[in-house]
């Protein structure tokens, strides 16, 4: 993690004790919390994507076929359909701040739960928080990030953050934490 000194100072001085991620507004969740809130945690690759209006014509939804390569929690079929808010249909663009759409070919670890519509699709837990993209570090290590700071030491009851470590971690560490949390 590279955090510049001026910014570290700014962040240390100015970020109050409680933190809310305003992406869309979310409370940062630990990997353990994400695991608990998800029916499936899977590793894989995004395949085809497409966007369409919902039946009420109030939201554009983007669907992604996600090829499962490894299941960390739950029992997943080889191919899942992941549904995300926002997208483009014709000339109309719907944006939801903070929602990062899956891209074909993208490797990811997804924390998923069934859609409220019971249409067989899955949605990402915590909007963007349950979407960890996989990248390769310069030393060859597989890394993951969901774009959120790692505030797993955040206490929701006291509003205290005792650790702020940035948002990248090794894929192997993520896998270990998910599997351990899934067993509890």
């Amino acid at each position: 993690m590279r955090v510049s000194t001026p910014r570290k100072i700014l962040f240390a001085l100015l970020l109050p004790a409680a933190i809310t991620a305003l992406a869309t507004t979310v409370l940062p969740m630990s990997i353990e919390s994400l695991t608990g809130a998800s029916s499936h945690v899977v590793e894989g690759v995004s395949m085809q994507t497409w966007s369409q209006w919902n039946p009420q014509h109030t939201m554009i939804l983007t669907y992604t076929k996600f090829q499962v390569q490894r299941t960390l929690k739950g029992q997943a079929p080889p191919m899942l359909i992941v549904k995300q808010l926002g997208g483009r249909v014709g000339a109309v663009i719907q944006k939801v701040a903070g929602v990062r759409h899956l891209q074909p070919g993208e490797q990811a670890v997804l924390f998923l739960r069934p859609s409220d519509e019971n249409d067989g699709t899955l949605v990402i837990t915590g909007l963007m928080q349950g979407n960890f993209s996989v990248s390769i570090a310069q030393n060859g290590t597989l890394m993951v990030s969901n774009g959120m700071p790692d505030v797993s030491a955040y206490s929701i009851s006291t509003g205290q953050i005792t650790s702020y470590q940035g948002n990248r971690l090794r894929l192997s560490d993520l896998e270990t934490r998910v599997q351990k949390a899934a067993q509890q």
Binding site: L15, A23, M29, Q94, R100, G147
Partner: protein, 335 residues
């Protein structure tokens, strides 16, 4: 890889002198539609759409407490933006009813704020408190709706930040106006900012409802008032790698005052902060909306706490703003 960089051209803003520099970048970060390899148009409501109509379903979920009405909280939140200096922006409230549960049930041209609406797939356990959905054609915003999670886990929304407590002891209070004010920045077309104390910084404390200099620069650039109550200018330059001369895309560049001056002193609720932007793919930037003062200009990688994941500029969206990844392979420099 860490490499030093760059050539930086700084035009310091002189008092009362408005420096007009035609550059593609913008202060703060607007949601934007790319119009070329280094140009974009900020997403914004057209002037013909103003005043922007909004309607609220005033029904509270069980997780909202406090004596102040949610409608009043929304009006106060909108007022933070519409009263910003140098800004020409207006909204109007349309009376709402508890029967409205989705955007189809409001009149055409009216935008919905809702606490109990359907279709958003909120979960009580996934930490999501609220989201804003904006519809646009090109860069013209045509509709925006704000949805609050009716049953957020671990928190309750409070409409009186200083007095209200959550009815459930295990819940922590979250000021509703803080969340609403941030979401309304998205409602008006603003993306996240890398400035820590800005309303549009993606991570916020429990209570933060007043705009910062950075927020004012953003909203007044998207909705400029021809009559500037506080004269402002621009700071522009280019960020490039020192060893190769190649431009840096997505460098977070911000102007930080070196004085205790308060050019917005006539607006006591406006908080003094740096004002920032990102470089476009050719490395150029323009920080607009900068009030008269002395500044140090800092360029840093957008690698923490705000990352490329937090801003649409770095996303391979459909359509993408610039369709290339933000660079973070350099070290912080300031001039």
């Amino acid at each position: 890889m860490r490499v030093g960089f760059f050539s930086l051209t700084v035009l310091v803003v002189a008092a009362v002198t408005l420096i007009i520099v035609v550059r593609p970048a913008s202060p703060f970060l607007p949601e934007a539609t790319g119009t070329g390899s280094n140009t974009f148009v900020a997403d914004a409501w057209p002037s013909s759409a103003q005043p922007i109509h909004w309607v609220i379903n005033p029904t509270r979920s069980a997780k909202i407490v406090g004596a102040t009405s949610v409608t009043q909280v929304m009006q106060d939140s909108f007022a933070s933006w519409t009263s910003a200096p140098n800004t020409l922006l207006s909204v109007i409230t349309t009376p709402g009813t508890s029967s409205i549960t989705n955007a189809n049930q409001v009149p055409s041209g009216t935008n919905l704020i809702c606490f109990i609406c359907t279709g958003v797939n909120f979960s009580s356990a996934d930490g999501t408190l609220a989201l804003t959905s904006t519809f646009s054609q090109g860069s013209v915003i045509t509709q925006a709706d704000i949805y609050f999670n009716p049953n957020p886990s671990g928190v309750c929304f409070v409409t009186d930040a200083q007095t209200a407590k959550c009815p459930t002891l295990t819940d922590s209070p979250q000021d509703l106006q803080t969340v609403a004010t941030h979401e309304m920045g998205h409602f008006f077309g603003l993306d996240h900012s890398g400035i820590v104390r800005a309303i549009m910084f993606p991570f916020a404390p429990n209570v933060l409802t007043t705009l910062s200099y950075d927020d004012v620069a953003g909203i007044s650039s998207s909705y400029p008032n021809s009559i500037q109550v506080v004269p402002v200018g621009n700071i522009s330059g280019t960020v490039s790698m020192a060893n190769t001369g190649s431009p840096v895309f997505g460098a977070h560049v911000f102007a930080n005052s070196t004085t205790s001056n308060n050019p917005f002193s006539a607006f006591p609720s406006i908080r003094k902060t740096p004002i920032g932007t990102l470089t476009v793919p050719n490395g150029s930037y323009t920080i607009k909306g900068v009030p008269p003062d002395s500044y140090v200009v800092i360029a840093e990688p957008l690698d923490q706490p705000v990352t490329s994941s937090s801003v649409d500029w770095g996303q391979p969206a459909n359509p993408p703003t610039f369709n290339q990844p933000i660079q973070t392979n350099f070290t912080t420099r300031w001039h």
